[in-house]
Amino acid sequence: MSRRYADAKEAFVDEINVDDYIELEGSKRAYDQLEHSLDKSSKMVLLFGKPGTGKTLLLHRLFQRYKYQRDLHFVETPSGSRRAFYEKLFGIFTGQTMPKKSKIDFETFVAFGKKIKGERSIVILVDEAQMYPKELMEEIRILSDTGSIKFVISLHKTEDEDLVAKQHFQSRIWETIELKNADRKELKTYVYKRLLNRGLTEIANQLEEKHFKFIHKATEGNFRECNKLLYTAFEIYEHYDRHEPKKIDFNKFSMKILEMAAIKTGMLHV
């Protein structure tokens, strides 16, 4: 039984794995919209939503799907500095590494963008854009104006970040795609699929409506929070299974353990 709970725990490790992608109604709609926007004339696409709603996974999925078919690039890790971002951009433009100690000349990049217009249609996926400095965001906007580079910007949806979006992109032709937290039905599908993908049918069958109700309430339908909660729950299960098996009823899922996991992860306050 121990192995089973360990596997269940692993099913909810919060990592980006496209193979683990679970198609839910909300995320499918967002993906279709994003995919469709690649062929549009819009220069910038804004993908936003609360942390844990699946923005990064969606970008990954799109990247995996089209990386060999389109001039599509993914700037996954936020660049620590303006130079780091331009080094990546230089690589996208030329396929080469930017020479060290070379000077970053923004005008040169803009000129290059104009030059390749009509020849190339570059799409750059920029994740965690809220971490970029304001000046860099402004330069990204100007680069998109060249008409040869489309940026898909992923942002966390917070009040400040919305403001950033307004400041930098409001005057541009851009499309907005919002990812929302899952409803209870979607979350249920998500949890089931996560467990069934690992062959944990028995555990999946033990989950009842009351458990999903609690999970949804505690996590507010956020996938990342859901992963965290269930990972912790199965970790507690694993502990009992190893050290105090008498405390566990193997035939049904314990609400107590789920509540303990919620307390542990700070979703329930004592």
Partner: protein, 234 residues
């Protein structure tokens, strides 16, 4: 792995809090559900209590009033009490009495609404007497029931009533009825004598009164004899 014991303790604390919260919610719901009922009960209770109080006090008042009327009647009757009982020839032909006060009937029939009000016993007495005095229906009722009840006080009540109305013939009749029931009381002799005298039969009145005075020695009767003889108002 983290401290599972500590986590269990936290869960127990959470569980207790949840239980208390649920109990409080349950209690609140119960109060909310019961509120209309309590409100209705609370509103109707004072009315019920008031009704009950009125009913009880009504009964009490009736009893009090009865008592007082009875006492009043007894007081009046005592005025007729002869020290030496002696029946006239007319009185001898009357049947034996059965005591029951006329005012009892008056109160129960007419005094209902009056006693339901929060009045003093004194006020009730006055009111009841007024009702009895003014209401001819009451007199008729007392007269109607007398053959059955043979009540001294009923008879005396009627005698005084008719004497007050200057119907001396009837006053004499009812005083005689009272005297046949209880000839030891001055009051019946006095009304009888006065009624006879008022009808112009002063000799008959003096003869009867003198006979009663000779046996009883009642000062009240002696005074009346003197007044009739001297032509003084009585």
């Amino acid at each position: 792995m983290y401290d599972i014991v500590e986590l269990e303790k936290k869960w127990q604390k959470y569980s207790r809090k949840r239980l208390v919260k649920r109990l409080l919610i349950g209690l609140a719901i119960l109060i909310l559900l019961a509120a209309p009922l309590l409100y209705t009960t609370f509103r109707s209770a004072p009315e019920l209590r008031h009704e009950k109080a009125l009913s009880v006090s009504g009964d009490k008042n009736r009893s009090k009033a009865r008592k007082q009327v009875e006492e009043t009647d007894r007081g009046d009757a005592e005025m007729l009490k002869p020290e030496v009982p002696s029946l006239s020839k007319e009185a001898a032909s009357l049947k034996s009495p059965r005591r029951k006060t006329g005012m009892k009937m008056t109160i129960s029939d007419q005094g209902g609404p009056a006693v339901a009000e929060e009045e003093t016993a004194e006020e009730k007495k006055i009111r009841l007497e007024m009702v009895a005095a003014k209401n001819g229906q009451v007199i008729k009722e007392i007269e109607a029931r007398f053959p059955t009840t043979r009540d001294y006080e009923d008879a005396m009540y009627l005698a005084k009533y008719y004497y007050g109305k200057k119907n001396y013939r009837k006053a004499e009749y009812w005083a005689l009825q009272a005297n046949t029931i209880d000839s030891s009381k001055d009051e019946s002799w006095l009304i009888f004598g006065k009624s006879k005298a008022k009808q112009g039969r002063r000799v008959d009145a003096l003869r009867v009164l003198q006979a009663y005075y000779d046996r009883s020695g009642s000062t009240r009767v002696k005074e009346l004899i003197d007044r009739i003889r001297k032509g003084k108002p009585y």
